[in-house]
């Protein structure tokens, strides 16, 4: 029996009134773990009960410790009838299972009820005594650390990066079991929450076992998702990157600079930008004949797109497809153009061969042992220096599946096979790009009724093998760096063979080293390498697309979707390319393409951050060509459009400060396929005034991107290009971790989630109308964000993450989570700011003496905080936003709040602060339901309150672990369903992130060895009443 779990219930507060007669509550608590339940005494007639229970002890296997959540139920005692439940708290005790994380969980947790929301709070202390277990065949994987962060966590060093780990578990969804017809919604929701909690625990344990097998000790970039397949069940799946991490012991060795990537960038401004290319496959359901429980095979044929008649729908070359489909002609740099057919034959053969061998390999050996070799995938998006050698381009694969009931939850082979197939696709694409690995890898699904689209994407890359092997010696890192120095732009260089390119691309010599070839455009799913040389600033680029689809059943539906997908992918890429050029940029990072399936439509949303990489050539302009050149007025119209486009490009270059140094042809050298004629021979590096006229010239080049306007569709495309409004001045946005070109972040951050649902007027919906609606929805949403956050200017929206879902026929839901970070416009500002900060600091130290004592006092009313970390934590001072000129008056005595500030951010770091400890993963799933929608303020009121509650519960858990921030926070799911006629609504939310302790860099400098401010600091002062 390898573990003892100890739980103490201390007190409750703000409980709801359960007895109308007395306006009070007789509360008691049930503490349940596994099958054991303990109860506290009933605390009569109080809304703030003090149970101060004994330690409840559970003796359990560590396997259970990993799988099971601790379940705390608060009830109202009723002598004559059944006790009424007030609410529950689920506590994931996983963070207590590894040595370096939290040692105790202690704090106030919101008591949550799926019908009523948060109803008061309960103070709980949880500890685990873990005994060492030498059993080699154990089923648990205690001790393996999990991180959502998709880079090596800040206070660790990667010894070895082992590679891909994945697992999935399936179960029946309690919502769809027969018993659901007779039980209450509350019981059903709780069953679901509990099941998912159990499943994710089990999943995590299984992944941990795989990591141990690989001799790793951690999973980085852990991404866990739920597929609510409805009738056919519930799938919980996860992917991650197994690593062996070393804790950086002495904080001194670890410069604060490492915490803020901005600084790193500042310090090493010379680096290389990435390379390019985009490949994608699309899998028809027919491909999955391998014993899956899919419906039977059926053949799909879309002749223009099928690659020499294989069963695979391969959208190998965007450019090629374009010829046939939408009359787009000319070079689509990097995406390929020209004849794909020529290369298709041998290439396909190669693919087949590889696929086959890989499959054989898989079939032949117990797959768990060859997993790493099988899929050289990495969920990381940022890497240790020297890790990434070359980047090939984006690889993606999609597959349409028909869901079938999962008959045997213990053997989730079907789902496994589906994903294996997709990963195989991805792997072969990477091979075709001359890459042996895929980085920035992610998987997603979109489900509508019985149809499911599985998607995977990543960036093909060549990695430095030293990091991947066992027995890596110390110092390999440094060694590698030296090796790399001569070719700093290396990651942009093409990894594939120039003469045997997987797709036609336009290659030039690297603008940095002039030795290696680079593509003219590069798409990737990773973050911008910190050492890449970027010119100007980056910006968020989105491609949005809707396609109507006939309602259909089963196979017919799957076929229809399969047929639409290649067109969507193609158009999304065309849009991305156009918008990128319009911005005057040449590379995309953090590309994420989401295809959502609904009853009668498909939505595509691609988001990425555009940048200008110094190593890649200057992008050509966009040229518009009409089909009927004889028509005078038409001609005029065209030239008008052309002018508008050119103006926009010029404006964007100015806006994003893109002014690359001019390079003459001679320096670049001539042996470039299709040499570019440059008229800009002037080597005026400094004259910015010439810029505009020069830009204009360059747009007339023949390498310009040509848009042919031959029908209304294309016209519309051009219009939509021009309708994207840039953010108001002072605002920037990106979907990567940091904004290229901004490196003086200040400490203020604001994470937010915004959700919008629009109802389409069902009358004669056309693709155009749909596109416009969707475009407006996204644009308006962004505009609203800019307006709301205007007080933070100058600021940048980072990690902007859009999610689209189609909850019903005519509803489109867009969910955005991002963080706004302020920055100093210039360094001068920063220096003037220091005195203010110093004075703040002084104020806080002044307070400290006064507050030490009250803190002790107030700990009477709340449970003692026995663990030191919480006290060592510097809690955020009040955010400076718009704080008026308040002066302090006398402080009322009872003002000591117990609520410490917890920051949340989707980024892996906190600007201006150093993460000193990772406390464990936060992975929470909540269901909220209401039968009084109108009374709760309608759908907006309902969801607003629920999301606020979810944030509160995340913060409470982090605070209880002794942390003061969540990094790499992500809202993975927000499924909202409403039935206004019945006055009902339901919402499911799944969030995750890493709980951390951070210390402000300024505190580190000033306070140095002394423990920083106490936890209650801000809270104790917050009672100060101001006028």
């Amino acid at each position: 029996m390898p573990g003892k779990l100890k739980v103490k219930i201390v007190a409750g507060r703000h409980l709801p009134v359960m007895d109308r007669a007395s306006d009070l509550t007789d509360a008691f608590v049930e503490v349940k773990f596994g099958n054991t339940t303990f109860k506290t005494d009933v605390y009569l007639k109080s809304l703030n009960p003090q149970w101060n229970s004994e330690w409840f002890k559970f003796e359990v296997d560590d396997e259970d410790l990993q799988d099971e959540p601790l379940q705390i139920t608060v009830l109202d005692h009723d002598t004559y009838s059944a006790n009424d439940a007030i609410g529950k708290v689920y506590i994931d005790i996983d963070p207590l299972l590894y040595s370096e994380a939290a040692t105790v969980i202690s704090g106030w947790f919101p008591i949550y009820d799926t019908i009523h929301g948060i109803r008061g709070e309960i103070n709980v202390v949880v500890k685990v005594d873990l005994f060492n277990d030498l059993n080699r065949f154990r089923q648990s994987s205690c001790g393996v650390k999990f991180f959502c962060t998709t880079s090596i966590p800040k206070c660790y060093r990667a010894v070895i990066i082992h590679g891909f780990v994945e697992e999935l578990v399936v179960n029946e969804d309690p919502e769809y079991q027969w018993i659901d017809r007779i039980r209450t919604p509350r019981a059903s929701n709780e069953a679901r929450q509990r099941l998912i909690s159990l499943m994710s625990g089990e999943l995590q344990r299984k992944i941990g076992l795989k990591v141990l097998e690989m001799r790793g000790n951690a999973v980085v970039g852990y991404l866990q998702c739920f597929d609510l397949e409805g009738e056919s069940g519930l799938v919980v799946r996860a992917i991650g990157t197994a690593c062996t991490l070393d804790k950086l012991s002495s904080p001194a060795a670890f410069l604060p600079a490492c915490n803020s990537p901005s600084k790193e960038m500042k310090e090493s401004p010379l680096v290389h930008p990435p390379s390019h290319g985009c490949r994608s496959t699309h899998n028809s359901p027919i491909h999955t004949a391998t014993g899956s429980r899919l419906t039977q095979n059926f053949s799909v044929s879309v002749p223009t797109l099928i690659y020499t008649g294989t069963r695979l729908l391969r959208l190998q070359s965007w450019g090629d497809a374009g010829h046939g489909q939408s009359g787009c002609r000319g070079r689509q740099a990097g995406m390929g153009s020209g004849s794909a057919g020529k290369e298709g034959g041998p290439f396909k053969a190669l693919l087949r061969q590889q696929t086959q061998s890989a499959l054989e390999q898989r079939g032949g050996s117990p797959h768990r042992f060859c997993r790493r070799r099988e899929f050289p995938f990495f969920t990381l998006t940022a890497f240790p220096p020297g890790f990434l050698v070359h980047v090939g381009g984006v690889v993606s694969a999609r597959s349409v599946k028909l869901l079938d009931r999962i008959h045997n939850p213990d053997e989730p082979e079907t789902r496994d096979a589906w994903w294996a197939e997709i990963r195989q696709e991805i792997k072969s694409h990477a091979k075709a790009l001359g890459c042996h690995a895929v980085v920035g890898y992610s998987e997603s699904t979109s489900i509508c009724e019985e149809v499911c689209i599985l998607s995977a994407s990543g960036t093909a890359a060549v990695l430095n093998p030293r990091f991947l092997q066992d027995g890596t010696v110390e110092g390999c890192l440094e060694q590698r760096l030296e090796e790399n120095l001569p070719t700093r732009c290396g990651f942009c260089h093409i990894p594939y063979d120039e003469l045997n390119m997987p797709f036609p691309a336009h290659l030039t010599y690297c603008y940095n080293c002039r030795k290696q070839k680079v593509p003219d455009v590069l798409f990737t799913t990773i973050d911008l390498p910190t050492d890449a040389t970027v010119i100007g600033k980056g910006c968020l680029i989105q491609a949005r697309l809707c396609r109507l689809k006939k309602k259909a059943q089963a196979e017919a539906n799957a076929t229809a979707i399969s047929n639409l997908l290649p067109f969507m992918e193609y158009e999304v890429h065309t849009q991305l390319m156009n918008k990128l050029k319009l911005k005057g940029m040449n590379a995309l990072f953090g590309l994420r393409i989401q295809i959502t399936v609904g009853e009668n439509m498909l939505m595509g949303l691609a988001s990425a951050t555009g940048v200008y990489l110094a190593a890649l050539p200057t992008p050509g302009g966009i040229q518009i060509a009409g089909k009927t050149p004889n028509d005078g007025s038409y001609e005029q119209h065209i030239s008008h459009m052309q002018k508008k486009i050119n103006d926009t490009i010029a404006k964007n270059k100015e806006l994003y400060e893109i002014n690359p140094p001019e390079i003459s042809e001679e320096i670049i050298g001539s042996p470039i396929p299709e040499p570019r004629q440059r008229s800009r021979l002037l080597r005026s590096q400094s004259e910015s005034s010439d810029e505009v006229t020069e830009l204009d010239l360059s747009h007339g080049k023949k390498d310009a991107f040509v848009l042919e306007i031959d029908d209304t569709d294309a016209m519309e495309d051009v219009h939509s290009l021009l309708t994207d409004v840039p953010p108001p001045s002072g605002f920037y946005s990106c979907n990567t971790e940091i904004m290229p070109g901004i490196n003086n972040w200040t400490s203020e951050i604001q994470m937010f989630t915004s959700v919008r649902v629009i109802r389409l007027s069902s009358l004669n919906l056309t693709n155009q109308a749909l596109n416009k609606n969707f475009n407006d929805l996204c644009e308006n949403l962004l505009k609203s964000l800019y307006f709301k956050l205007r007080s933070m200017i100058p600021c940048c929206l980072c990690h902007v993450n859009f999610t689209v879902s189609l909850p019903e026929d005519e509803l489109i839901q867009v969910t955005v989570t991002a963080v706004a970070i302020t920055f100093d416009k210039n360094q001068a500002l920063q220096t003037t700011k220091t005195p203010v900060e110093k004075s703040l600091q002084r104020a806080s130290t002044d307070n400290e003496e006064l507050l030490q004592f009250p803190l002790e006092l107030c700990s009477d009313s709340l449970p003692s905080h026995p663990f030191p970390p919480a006290k060592a934590v510097t809690v955020e001072k009040a955010s400076p936003v718009g704080d008026g000129n308040f002066r302090n008056r006398s402080a009322p005595p009872c003002a000591n709040s117990t609520v410490g500030v917890v920051k949340m951010t989707p980024l892996s770091f906190i600007p201006g602060a150093k993460i000193t400890k990772y406390l464990g993963i936060i992975n929470m799933f909540f269901i909220r339901e209401t039968t009084s929608l109108r009374e709760e303020g309608g759908v907006s009121g309902f969801l607003h309150a629920f999301i606020a509650e979810v944030f509160a519960m995340v913060r409470a858990h982090v605070a209880a672990l002794g942390g003061n921030a969540v990094v790499s926070y992500i809202m993975k799911q927000c499924v909202f369903m409403e039935n206004p006629n019945k006055n009902q609504a339901q919402c499911l939310i799944n969030v995750s992130g890493d709980a951390v302790v951070f210390v402000r860099e300024s505190d580190l400098e000033v306070v140095s060895s002394q423990q920083p401010t106490i936890n209650c600091q801000s809270s104790c002062t917050e009672g100060e009443v101001t006028t």
């Binding site: 915004s754 709301k788 308040f886 008056r889 949340m904 607003h944 917050e1022 009443v1025």
Partner: protein
Amino acid sequence: MTSELDIFVGNTTLIDEDVYRLWLDGYSVTDAVALRVRSGILEQTGATAAVLQSDTMDHYRTFHMLERLLHAPPKLLHQLIFQIPPSRQALLIERYYAFDEAFVREVLGKKLSKGTKKDLDDISTKTGITLKSCRRQFDNFKRVFKVVEEMRGSLVDNIQQHFLLSDRLARDYAAIVFFANNRFETGKKKLQYLSFGDFAFCAELMIQNWTLGAVGEAPTDPDSQMDDMDMDLDKEFLQDLKELKVLVADKDLLDLHKSLVCTALRGKLGVFSEMEANFKNLSRGLVNVATKLTHNKDVRDLFVDLVEKFVEPCRSDHWPLSDVRFFLNQYSASVHSLDGFRHQALWDRYMGTLRGCLLRLYHD
């Protein structure tokens, strides 16, 4: 295309002070949007009306959710749902409990009951303050009253502790509660020239000097423990005030008092002759007010009486404020020289406060 749902939730709750003010002022979302448009915000930010509408709705929703917590401000500090920096919490509370001068003058001294609530409609029409805002302000008064009503100890401290208000605002609330509890008449036409500040000033003086709490310790008499220390006037003191009657009833004492005051003020007062002529009337007025305070009805009319008996006569003779001050100082001080008068302490307790009040009340 219609927006079904549109929300924004920040980890730190966004508070827009301007929108908060509009919400507190009781404007509907539509009116608030119109007012914001008029403020020129669209031009400043380049936003559209739709953006403004959505933003306003969001803030209103947030305020609506916060309102429950604002009813018990300590809850706002301890709750976990909204992460709000302390300075913002203070701002939310302070603004929520702030009130309009025009409104408070209408209800000051009235019973904070349902009956009065019906009059809110009329007050709203009269003052131009929205009914919603009137409701909030009235409910705030009532809530504070209910909470501190039964409490012992300093009224201001109690209010500050339970509502986390600033010192200034807590004092104002103390005055409101004190007036409501003692039902002082403030609505009469002749009192209209007085501001809330005037009354609050008087209330503070009275709380400090005329209540049980002012004595410094809890009374030993078990019956009087039922009285709230700061809210109710010291009954014993009011009873004792009857003893002052002798100052005007005893003709010799009155004459002596007059001659003492006149001697001292001769040549120093611009309105000496008027004072001399009016002395007995004024003195009778002031002493009679004191002796009648045992009756609740007369307590209520305290301010009416003070204005009628003292402020108005002086004003009609055009006393400058400095002369009023000279007179009152001398008037109260001279009593110490009256050998036959034994209630010096009582007189000081009464007159010290009254002098302060009168000086404050004496203006146009």
